[in-house]
């Protein structure tokens, strides 16, 4: 007889015995069921978060850092100051490039507008995009990959006051936005984008990817760059040569604060930090859920160990008798393994239903996607392994009991 047949043979009477003294088994099965529901849903949420966190922003995250520039002195020459600052930054050894922008991917603050691919478009023909108002060094500083057309030229760049119109703007779109606006192939270069005021904006290039500033935005990769940067609420971004960022950041802070007293440099942060802060809640949720999973696995595992140990104690006489009747040590171990497997399987069946129930509740109550059914079989396998591993030690102890227990009173 092979092992599988042996296992199958054991199942019948064990199952019948289980249905007779069921309280303990039912409790463990219920525990397994809830555990399965928690684990599958938690892992699903974790996966969802990890997937979102893994989406590339398009930015050279490791080497970029940024700061906001806040001019406050009246009659301050903002434009001249920005140009001077950027010149100084670009001249620093270790700086690859520096640029002025209103916002950038993952910042969690910025602006968006609706644009259309033709003049005089109707409401639905407008599609929103994150609006990046930048200079000619931005693509290089962020490390974005140009896949069609060209970068902005210096002569296309204007500095713009916040409440004013664009001045001869040209645009660079992300591939995703280009494909949306100019289907099917997204050949946007040479075409024109129209904003709500019917300003025609020639498109000069397409970049592979640049996320919008807000990670929860529906169309995360619909972004457009315009060749007018902003004079207020501006930010400098700097791209350091690999390995130079941490050395450069304090140096830049010192340089800028000493060079000009009419404006303040605030919240200097590496893109790595910004990413970590932006995804902080996702990461926190993932970590908490992992801890919950670990704890619940420990609890349920120990519960199985505890109950199995008690069963071994309570069944000493029975085990001795089985040994006397010819059970080998392996048969005794197998008995407990099969028993545990049956209990966890019962739990898994209830748990599968419970998992979907929990998912259903969460989908209806919250903004969560429904549970992918693949998580159930994986969770069930895990539960089986947990049940078998947890019962192994008590089962081995049971198999070590002396056959003579059958005749000695215990």
């Amino acid at each position: 007889m092979n092992l599988f047949q042996k296992l199958a043979l054991d199942a019948g009477p064990i199952l019948r015995a289980l249905t007779r003294s069921r309280a303990g088994a039912v409790l463990i099965a219920l525990q397994c069921a809830i555990t399965l529901a928690i684990i599958t849903n938690a892992i699903f949420i974790i996966q969802d978060r990890l997937k979102k966190m893994a989406r590339p922003s398009g930015v050279d995250v490791e080497n970029v850092f940024s700061m906001s520039v806040i001019p406050f002195a009246p009659n301050f020459d903002t434009k001249g100051s920005i140009e001077a600052d950027l010149r100084a930054l670009r001249a620093l050894p270790g700086v690859v490039d520096a640029a002025v922008v209103n916002s950038f991917p993952l910042l969690q603050s910025g602006g968006s507008s609706m644009y259309a691919a033709k003049p005089g478009a109707k409401g639905e023909e407008y599609v929103g995009a994150a609006r990046y108002e930048v200079d000619a060094h931005t693509l290089n500083t962020l490390g974005l990959k140009l896949i069609a057309g060209r970068d902005f030229r210096e002569d296309e760049i204007r500095g713009r006051e916040i409440n004013s119109q664009y001045e001869n703007p040209v645009a660079i779109l992300t591939k995703a936005y280009a494909e949306k606006m100019f289907p099917p192939d997204g050949n946007a270069v040479g075409k024109t984008l129209y904003d709500g005021n019917q300003v025609a904006i020639p498109i000069v290039g397409v970049v592979e990817r640049a996320q919008a500033p807000w990670i929860s935005w529906g169309e995360l990769e619909y972004s457009a760059f315009f060749s007018n940067y902003r004079l207020s609420f501006a930010r400098y971004i700097v791209r350091a040569a690999p390995g130079e960022r941490d050395r450069l950041m304090p140096q830049v802070e010192k340089l800028l604060s000493e060079s000009n007293s009419g404006r303040l440099i605030e919240s200097m942060k590496s893109q790595t930090d910004i990413e970590a802060r932006t995804y902080g809640e996702y990461r926190a949720m993932a970590i908490i859920l992992v801890s919950v999973i670990v704890l619940i696995v420990i609890i349920t595992g120990l519960g199985i160990v505890g109950l199995a140990s008690f069963n071994v104690n309570a069944r000493k006489k029975q085990i001795g008798t089985r040994r006397a009747l010819g059970a080998q040590k392996g048969d005794i171990v197998r008995y407990f393994l099969v028993e545990s497997w049956l209990i966890t399987t019962a739990g898994a069946v209830i748990g599968a239903g419970l998992s979907f129930g929990l998912s259903y509740w969460m989908v209806n109550t919250f903004d969560l996607p429904p549970l992918d059914w693949h998580y159930i079989p994986v969770g069930v396998c895990f539960l089986w392994v947990l049940g078998l591993v947890a019962v192994l030690v008590p089962a081995r102890r049971a198999s070590q009991l002396a056959p003579a227990l059958a005749t000695r009173s215990v």
């Binding site: 289980l18 006397a324 009747l325 010819g326």
Partner: protein
């Protein structure tokens, strides 16, 4: 069938050493019905456990069915118990969560018989002890005598060569005890060797031979086989 020579067994605990058996020698022939008597603590159960391969011994030799069993592995001892030996216990030792049918089934599963064979044997054995109609009952739904008959059926179902019984009637009233004994005699008459521990001299007298154990040693033989033959002859 069973040949023990100079067997000794010592139990060691932290405080004391108990010589449960010392220089214990005994021969049981095939087809014999032997009763073992002796005061409490004299080593009867120890002898039975060793004979039934439930316990190992310290010195001496033991041939079971002509084979030396002193150095067998745990698994081979299990297999021998399963195939050649049947047990009947004072406390019946039925598994409370299993039905009568499943209880009798226990050793047969370890033997690896297929389902049909097991069913045939279980039904046969239950028939033999007169409990065929109780197959679906739980042990707790049976009287003591019935439970012990189930235990006998369980021992018989594997068609053992030798049957060990430790005080099989100890938990039964005298009427049920006699029924059980009659059943054992019947089994013996079909060729199965029986070794029975008892403290009831009346029951012991019905065996072929009585072995009196005292302080872990055989102290006395009484052979009833001739006497009963003579009695049979007189009756005739």
């Amino acid at each position: 069938m069973l040949q023990m020579t100079h067997i000794s067994k010592v139990f060691r605990t932290d405080l004391v050493q108990t010589h449960a058996l010392r220089d214990f020698s005994l021969n049981v022939k095939e087809g014999e019905f032997v009763a073992v008597t002796g005061p409490s603590g004299s080593g009867k159960t120890t002898f039975l456990n060793i004979a039934g391969l439930l316990e190992t011994f310290d010195t001496g030799t033991y041939l079971l069915d002509g084979k030396d069993v002193s150095h067998l592995s745990d698994d081979s001892r299990s297999r021998l118990r399963n195939e050649k030996i049947g047990f009947i216990f004072q406390g019946f030792n039925l598994i409370p969560d299993l039905s009568v049918f499943d209880n009798v089934d226990v050793p047969l599963r370890y033997r690896g018989f297929d389902g049909k064979e097991r069913r045939r044997r279980i039904e046969g054995a239950l028939e033999q002890v007169g409990l065929a109609s109780r197959a679906k009952h739980l042990p707790s739904q049976l009287s003591g005598g019935q439970q012990q008959r189930v235990a006998i059926a369980r021992a018989l179902a594997g068609t053992p060569r030798i049957l060990f019984a430790d005080e099989p009637t100890g938990n039964l009233d005298s009427l049920m005890a006699r029924q059980v004994l009659e059943m054992l005699e019947e089994i013996n008459s079909s060729g199965t060797t029986i070794v029975m521990v008892t403290h009831d001299p009346e029951l012991a007298r019905r065996a072929h031979r009585n072995i009196h154990v005292m302080d872990g040693q055989v102290s006395d033989f009484t052979d009833f086989s001739q006497a009963s033959a003579a009695r049979d002859a007189l009756a005739a």
